[in-house]
């Protein structure tokens, strides 16, 4: 009896076989090959040298600018996304606006990459429509006053276009979960709107907000297409560096590319770990 039960148990795991084989072949093995490659030198012998090369000035700089870009766009996206989400969920606006905002956010968060870069070039590039209008209507020379779409802040402005909608989609359930009774209770105890937010609303939302921030951080950190199409590789982001490494070997050392990629995976792992622990914390309030 126990034997047939064990057999049945093994049989039920067998049903996962095809998918697991596929995932191992095209997800796990490639990841492991990066891990292995980053501990090897050109001739395949074990070494830590690749990680020592990560300390090179230009590589440290590219990690720093990628982390800054991800943090800045995640922060802007988190704040603005939460405000817009709160406005349409609980701000007393017409109901249709909420479903419109959610649908639009679904579209906009998928509108990344090459077409998004083109849209911003047509809008705020050197000959972009808004650039030209600002000059002819208000006499403001955007590029003369230091703005540049192909710079850090220009890229940030573009990234927010897919960060903010992702925030709206991510935070909406938590904002829906803010119960009206809590506000009414604090108001009937004499709390002002500020007190309610500082002592009740924000403390409840904080884990969800932080989790969403980390999700957005990872979303920007792994992005390649938008930066590739917009800056053409002028900004030294880690994904761009890895891409250049695979395509043309600018670093003259393929194994350094593996170490770069592994660094990315480690940062993403830390992010996802933080994210899931914060999600657990946030789920206490959602019922």
């Amino acid at each position: 009896m126990p034997r047939s039960q064990a057999l049945r148990k093994a049989g039920s795991w067998l049903g996962l076989g095809p998918f697991l084989c596929f995932a191992i072949a095209f997800m796990i093995l490639p990841a492991l090959s990066i891990l292995a490659g980053s501990f090897m030198n050109k001739s395949g012998a074990f070494t830590f040298a690749n990680f020592a090369h990560l300390a090179r000035q230009n590589i440290v700089a590219s990690y720093r600018v990628t982390i800054e870009l991800s943090a800045v766009t995640a922060a802007i996206g988190t704040v603005l996304g939460a405000l817009v989400s709160y406005a349409v969920v609980a701000g007393g606006l017409p109901k249709g606006l909420r479903s419109f905002t959610i649908t639009f956010s679904g579209v906009a968060s998928n509108f990344a990459g090459v077409p998004l870069a083109f849209a911003f070039i047509a809008t705020l590039g050197r000959v972009g429509l808004v650039t030209a209008l600002a000059k002819s209507l208000f006499g403001i020379d955007l590029y003369g006053s230091g703005f540049n779409l192909y710079s850090f802040w220009g890229l940030s402005l573009t990234y927010v276009y897919f960060q903010m909608p992702l925030m709206i989609l991510t935070i909406e359930p938590a904002i829906v979960g803010l119960r009206r009774e809590w506000r009414e209770a604090s108001e009937s105890l004499g709390a002002s709107s500020w007190t309610y937010w500082l002592r009740v609303g924000l403390p409840i939302l904080t884990p969800s907000l932080l989790a969403a921030f980390i999700l957005l951080f990872g979303n920007a950190f792994g992005a390649y297409a938008t930066a590739y199409a917009l800056t053409g590789g002028m900004l030294n982001l880690v994904p761009i560096l890895i891409g250049a490494q695979i395509r043309g070997d600018v670093l003259h050392d393929p194994n350094l590319g593996y170490a770069l990629a592994l660094g990315m995976v480690v940062i993403m792992l830390a992010a996802i770990f933080l994210y899931s622990s914060l999600q657990k914390l946030a789920s206490r309030w959602q019922r």
Partner: protein, 264 residues
């Protein structure tokens, strides 16, 4: 009290208006910019140029083909697996959740790197085969695919329906084709549209694996021309809007129908 409510409303309008300005200004500007293809007049010349380029159709059809293969492969791999887990192996849910986080941990650029490294030397050389591209796309869209199907399965309570069908004498093929799949129709359709939107303009894997897909084609056009990229951007936005909009329409209708059905 009243005043605080109207103040909240005014603030809400303000933030929403700011958000809308940020989202619609680039779209409107890009659209107007795309109409400037012919000097002095507004015209659809840039669109005509794009459509007349044989490379446009060629790369678009290539990406379409890849999207179809990706969708088929994902459905064949993920739908039966998700059904199996709900029916026979609820224990594996944690494993699948963990796996579905993996594509987030391994961004497309790193995945492409790993795929090249793994499949460019024997025993299995796949770098020159579109199979590798499709496999990569299946991995990239797997989290969204799995979550959509999983949510659909949660909503129909498959174990209960299966038990009912089996009591009535249904075989497992009948259960699969007459119970599970029809119940999942809305989520499968949403997953299909989401998958399509992901693959059709994808750049990273296509560029790194060197395929003449639609994403790399768009990037190339952007390097040489001024107004055509704006036209491509608008067309691509319309495509995204179409597929994601349809997806959300289908899933919201599915939920509404199920919601009514469950009410006692």
């Amino acid at each position: 009290m009243r005043r605080s409510e109207s103040a909240r409303k005014a603030l809400s309008w303000f933030w929403l208006a700011l958000g809308m300005l940020y989202f619609f200004l680039p779209l409107v500007a890009t659209f107007l910019f795309s109409l400037k293809g012919r000097k002095g007049v507004l015209s659809f010349a840039a669109y005509a140029n794009v459509l007349a380029d044989p490379q446009f159709l060629k790369t678009f059809l290539f990406s379409l083909e890849m999207a179809v293969f990706t969708i088929l492969a994902s459905l064949v791999l993920i739908v039966p697996t998700a059904i199996w887990i709900h029916l026979k192996l609820p224990k594996a849910k944690g494993l699948m959740e963990a796996l579905s986080l993996m594509p987030f941990v391994i961004p497309p650029i790193v995945l492409a790197f790993g795929l090249i490294k793994t499949y460019s030397k024997p025993p299995l050389v796949l770098v020159s085969s579109p199979v590798l591209l499709v496999a990569g796309y299946v991995i990239i869209s797997f989290p969204y695919m799995y979550r959509t199907i999983d949510a659909g399965l949660r909503a129909i309570d498959l174990p209960l329906l299966t038990e009912a069908a089996q009591i009535l004498g249904a075989r497992w093929t009948t259960v699969l084709f007459r119970v599970a799949l029809p119940g999942l129709r809305a989520s499968i359709l949403s997953a299909v549209f989401l998958c399509f939107a992901t693959v059709i303009g994808e750049l990273t894997l296509a560029v790194i694996l060197a395929w003449p897909a639609f994403g790399p084609y768009m990037a190339l056009v952007g390097r040489d021309l001024a107004y055509e990229p704006a036209a491509l951007s608008i067309m691509s936005f319309a495509l995204t809007w179409g597929s994601i909009g349809l997806m959300q329409f289908i899933s919201s209708r599915g939920v509404a129908r199920r919601g009514r059905g469950h009410r006692p």
